[in-house]
């Protein structure tokens, strides 16, 4: 069975370097320079996969990234495994393993193949139609579909490879290193433009590098020879960076492109370690030159998908570039001259070509004559009506095509063959062009979409711009370069090009068969098994928009994005609907052009670099003392400090009691701090807070509530007046950045006349909050010289002093209702300060407490937490905080909104306290509150926002928002839960020390 189809040595294949690899468990040999596809073909392996829906045997179709069929799993079962890789892009190396996807138990015998025989039951939209009902069965259907579809498998252990990102700025980016790209890059770089040239393949030169049509000459040399000399010259050009194995995945606006550079995928496992596998290049280019080439189109005819049926250009590349014969009895099927070039290429290498089937009536070009001279039979005006061979093509049937191309006549001729090269003309690769937002137009004569309206600094050159002949390419490229790079002379001015001029083509989107369409299988999208029949069915069922037809039939929805078949899909729709292609529009090509690995996308941002986090200066102490942490915004905050295996509840109960009975200490460094200076600072605060600030004395602190312009509470915190024109504002931990942004916004845009300057100083200070009846004694030990009497240092005041030689700011403010101090020092002294407090507090059993205890203590006092008890729909009035809203001030942010009819409604949700009738039941935060249990539908009055078991009150307490709650004091309500209804009573939200006596205790 195995035979060697290596024909003649190729300069791109190193036959001294023999490589063994495994495919579907079997060992094969290839050479350095082979792709998995070329090596398999050299071993006469065509069958590489099964199609998605019908599980039909499929073979290698192309030689590039547009491959729809040869999709393999690389290195299955290892942590480096990767699904959905195109065999045409995998460079083989010693030890490579690959396997077919989408088949079970094996590619040779696939149970799903039964779908092929059931295919009349699998029309377009089959999945949509069949699995719609009953809805509850969907899970079972999904399992069945996924199992039998058997797409590739993702690795189950973590990726051992390293990925990287790199930013590149260049004057000129050239995408594609075929003849146009090479000449463009060379001339750009020579004219002092910093130039980057990218190509997805490992060798430069595109298809011209194996272009040996003897009738085409550049400067009297074969194009391939001429281009090789040009490539050699590239290496000596300054300003030019060349990257191969680099595929541009996305072309965004403003010439921002993302490319994936493959660095180790072609290396043996031992050479992969400790190297960067793939690098995402983030490129900003002043100008982009797209030289992405063109993709050969297949032809759409009955059973056009058998293994052995390939693109004509691929058959040629395998022979010329890789030195591999794809078959021993080759036939070509074409609508233009390029199949003749492929045929001659094979002929020159001694590979047998049986015949060429041409749907045209004739062609007079030199290459066609050469084919005839070579004795290869040409069937003019013929089409293939059927093919045979299940796992490998073994024959084709042809018939004469009618003049209008819609039917066949005469008798059927059968031709035996094992490889069919199909040439349907060329489609410019305009994918990246359209991604950039630029617009195409349809050229009715050439039957292709061409770049039309550029939206960024870009040009499309070569065949992606619609020039297919070398003389046109060079002439238009030269003019384009001069116009767009503003240069006078180029290398291209004096090039002499001779070419074979004939350029005729006959375009038929769907070729007829002797059977009715319903009995045929003309595949349009190979990967998704969409046939011309499906597209026509969609149109019959009323689909009109190309985007809808695409989704309904799944045409173009595979990993190849329908690179081969999209044009035919459009053509068939246009023909069937009787409209012009240009009027139909094209489908949208979205990034990535070829699939990207997740690794490349995330780059270095994995593991501990996945997300940024911030730590306070006291963090090490918390870690050493076994704190549990919680995330608050980006901060890691100490949550609670369990000792001797305490649960969170136990720890929090202990911490809460200690803080009220003796002394507690909290790391409050994360609170946002904004330094406010300027002669209008007081006026500014008047405008941003709801209460009055002008009369706040220097050295005093005040609590402030900040609203949005819609009247809803936005943030809160204590602000201290440090001097005549100097304040320090604190914000919530999570709100710091947004508050600063909002204040800047007003200062810069609404009130530019105010003399105010804002600086974020959150990270500059470390803050320890010392609280409890013994806090004063502890502070006294730390700063003996400071007069801590209520007269000299009352509640809501501030002192600037020193601890030893360390300057510190102390605010006597309280978020717990206890006598407490917030001590701020320069961040680098934070840990020292903390240790000093712990040391001085030892005799008072000072207890460090975390955010959970802080929340509990403030809830006992009925203090809100913005974002927990509020959700952007609560006004200060809703929070029963009318006292903080100035009636005298003419204006402040959000004031007017407090008098809107909606914000003044009596039945808005309002903040209340809730007590459970059974004091041991702790409500769930988020639980719904109702007044009637037997109503249907039950009316939701509100929900629980904060809930704790208070060790100080020895009962459960909760804050809640309840519709009209303000007037419900003492009312009995219910909190219905899954298994029980909890009886609750509306209460004053201040549960503890209502008279605030403890502040001065």
């Amino acid at each position: 069975m195995t035979k060697n189809l290596r024909v003649k040595s190729s300069e791109y294949i190193d036959e001294t370097n023999r490589i063994s690899f495994k495919f579907n468990g079997r060992t094969y040999h290839g050479f350095k320079g082979d792709t998995l596809a070329s090596a398999l073909l050299a071993n006469n392996v065509h069958l590489v996969g099964r199609s998605f829906k019908y599980h039909r045997p499929r073979g290698i179709m192309t030689s590039g990234s547009e491959e729809p069929n040869a999709i393999v799993q690389v290195n299955p079962g290892t942590n480096r495994t990767e699904p959905n890789v195109r065999a045409t892009e995998v460079e083989i190396y010693e030890g490579l393993e690959a396997s077919s996807q989408n088949c079970w138990p094996s590619v040779e015998f696939d149970i799903g193949g039964i779908n092929n025989f059931l295919s009349p039951f699998f029309p377009a939209g089959f999945y949509y139609k069949t699995f719609m009902w009953p809805a509850s069965f969907w899970e079972k259907y999904e399992f069945f579909i996924r199992h039998s579809a058997g797409l590739g498998k993702s690795p189950t252990s973590s990726d051992p490879d390293i990925y990287d990102h790199r930013n590149i700025h260049c004057d000129v980016l050239v995408v594609g290193a075929g003849i146009s790209g090479i000449l463009a890059a060379k001339n750009a770089a020579k004219n002092n433009f910093k130039t980057l040239l990218l190509d997805e393949k490992n060798e430069l030169g595109g298809s011209t590098i194996f272009e040996n049509n003897e009738f085409n000459k550049i400067d009297n040399k074969a194009p391939s020879e001429w281009l090789k000399a040009e490539i050699k010259e590239l290496k000596n050009i300054k300003n030019l960076e060349i990257k191969t194995r680099t595929s541009v995945a996305a072309y965004h606006q403003y010439n921002y492109l993302l490319a994936r550079e493959n660095l180790t995928d072609h290396l043996e496992a031992k050479d992969k370690t400790n190297k960067i596998r793939q690098r995402l290049l983030k490129i900003r280019a002043k100008k982009v030159i797209l030289a992405t080439g063109a993709l050969e189109r297949p032809l759409i005819f009955n059973n056009n998908d058998r293994p052995g049926i390939m693109l004509s250009s691929a058959v040629k590349k395998y022979s010329e570039f890789y030195g591999v014969a794809c078959g021993s009895r080759n036939v070509f099927f074409t609508n233009n001259d390029s199949a003749y070039e492929s045929a001659i290429s094979l002929y020159n290498k001694g590979i047998n070509v049986e015949a060429i089937i041409d749907i045209r009536e004739q062609s007079e070009s030199k290459i066609v004559k050469k084919v005839k001279e070579a004795g290869i039979k040409v069937y003019w005006s013929h089409t293939i009506v059927d093919t045979a061979g299940y796992k490998r093509l073994n024959s084709i049937s042809i018939m004469k095509l009618s003049n209008d191309g819609t039917s066949v006549t005469g008798s059927k001729i059968s031709i035996s063959c094992d490889c069919l090269g199909v040439a349907g003309g060329w489609t410019p690769a305009i994918h990246l062009y359209t991604q950039s937002g630029s617009k195409l137009k349809f050229d009715e004569k050439k039957q292709i979409f061409l770049p039309n309206q550029n939206t960024s600094e870009q040009i499309s050159v070569g065949s992606c711009g619609g020039d297919f002949k070398i003389d046109e390419i060079i002439k238009n490229l030269n003019q384009n370069l001069k116009d767009n790079l503003n240069i006078k002379e180029t290398d291209l001015d004096n090039i002499k090009v001779e070419i074979d001029q004939e350029n005729s083509k006959r375009n038929i989107w769907l070729l007829p068969s002797d059977k009715p369409l319903g009995k045929t299988k003309p595949f349009v999208d190979y990967q998704n098994d969409a046939t011309a029949k499906d597209i026509k069915l969609a149109l019959r069922e009323g689909f009109r928009s190309i985007e809808h037809v695409k989704r309904y039939t799944t045409t173009g929805m595979g990993t190849d994005q329908g690179k081969l078949g999209n044009m035919h899909a459009l053509g068939i729709i246009a023909d069937t609907a009787g409209v012009k292609m240009g009027e139909l529009g094209t489908t949208t090509f979205r990034p990535p052009y070829t699939p990207l690995t997740f690794g490349t996308i995330v780059g270095r941002n994995v593991g501990k670099f996945f997300d940024i986090f911030r730590r306070t200066p006291m963090n090490d102490w918390h870690v050493e003392n076994k704190a549990e942490f919680e995330n608050v915004g980006q901060w890691k905050r100490a949550w609670y400090y369990p000792i001797n295996g305490e649960t969170m509840h136990q720890a929090v109960q202990r911490e809460s009691k200690a803080a009220r009975e003796s002394a507690g200490i909290l790391d409050a460094s994360t609170l946002g701090k904004i330094d406010i200076q300027g002669s209008d600072a007081s006026e500014f605060l008047n405008r941003v807070y709801t209460n009055a600030w002008s009369k706040l004395a220097i050295g005093k602190c005040r609590y402030g509530l900040m609203l949005n312009e819609d009247g809803m509470v936005y943030d809160d915190g204590v602000t201290t007046r440090l001097g005549e024109n100097h304040y320090i504002m604190t914000t919530t931990t999570g709100g710091a950045a947004n508050v600063l942004g909002k204040l800047e916004d007003y200062l810069q845009t609404e009130w530019p006349e105010l003399d105010v300057y804002l600086t974020s100083v959150t990270d500059h200070y470390a803050t320890a909050s010392l609280c409890g009846p013994n806090s004063k004694k502890i502070l006294k030990k730390i700063i003996p010289d400071l007069d801590l009497s209520d007269e000299n240092f009352p509640h809501m005041s501030f002192k600037e002093t020193n601890i030893g030689h360390i300057q510190c700011r102390i605010m006597r403010i309280s978020f717990t209702g206890e006598h407490s101090y917030e001590i701020n020092v320069q961040a680098s002294y934070g840990k020292d300060l903390w240790k000093k407090c712990m040391e001085a507090g030892q005799e008072f059993n000072i207890t460090p407490y975390g955010t959970e205890t802080m929340h509990l203590l403030r809830a006992e006092k009925g203090f809100i937490i913005v974002g927990q008890d509020t959700d952007g729909t609560m006004t200060p009035i809703d929070l029963q905080m009318d006292w903080i809203v100035s009636k005298k001030k003419y204006d402040f942010i959000g004031k007017r909104s407090l008098y809107r009819s909606d914000t003044m409604r009596e039945d808005r949700k309002q903040l209340v306290g809730l007590l459970t009738d059974d004091p041991n039941i702790v409500l769930e935060e988020g639980a719904q509150i109702v007044s009637e249990l037997n109503q249907s539908p039950v009316e939701m009055l509100g929900h629980v926002t904060s809930s704790y078991f208070s060790p100080n009150l020895k009962k459960s307490i909760a804050l809640a928002v309840v519709r009209g709650g303000k007037d419900m004091m003492g009312k009995k309500l219910f909190v219905p839960m899954e298994n029980k209804n909890i009886n609750v009573t509306v209460a004053n939200p201040v549960f503890y020390d209502e008279k605030n006596e403890r502040l001065n205790a």
Partner: protein
């Protein structure tokens, strides 16, 4: 991904900026004088144009300055950028 020419810093990647909605909506000087409808007009009503739109942008991760931008929302072409307080360019 836009390349935005901050009037204070020069060209920077879009990631550094925050969009701030429609431009040239001035906060009323005397909100208390306005009817509910007039206040609602200021508070809620935004145009969301398909085409040329005047917008506010902030160089949030840079100089923190706010500025105005004229952008065609249909193709994201930035037509002009000018500082706060400057007159919008006439077309």
């Amino acid at each position: 991904m836009f390349l935005i020419n901050c009037p204070y810093c020069g060209e920077r990647d879009q990631q550094e900026f925050k969009a701030g909605g429609e431009a040239h909506i001035e906060r009323p000087k005397q909100p208390t004088e306005l009817s509910d409808d007039e206040w609602a007009e200021y508070l809620f009503m935004r145009k969301n144009i398909k085409g040329v739109q005047f917008e506010r942008w902030n160089h949030a991760h840079g100089c923190r300055k706010w500025f105005n931008m004229v952008r065609d929302t249909s193709n994201d072409e930035i037509k002009a950028i000018y500082k706060m307080g400057e007159k919008p360019p006439t077309q």
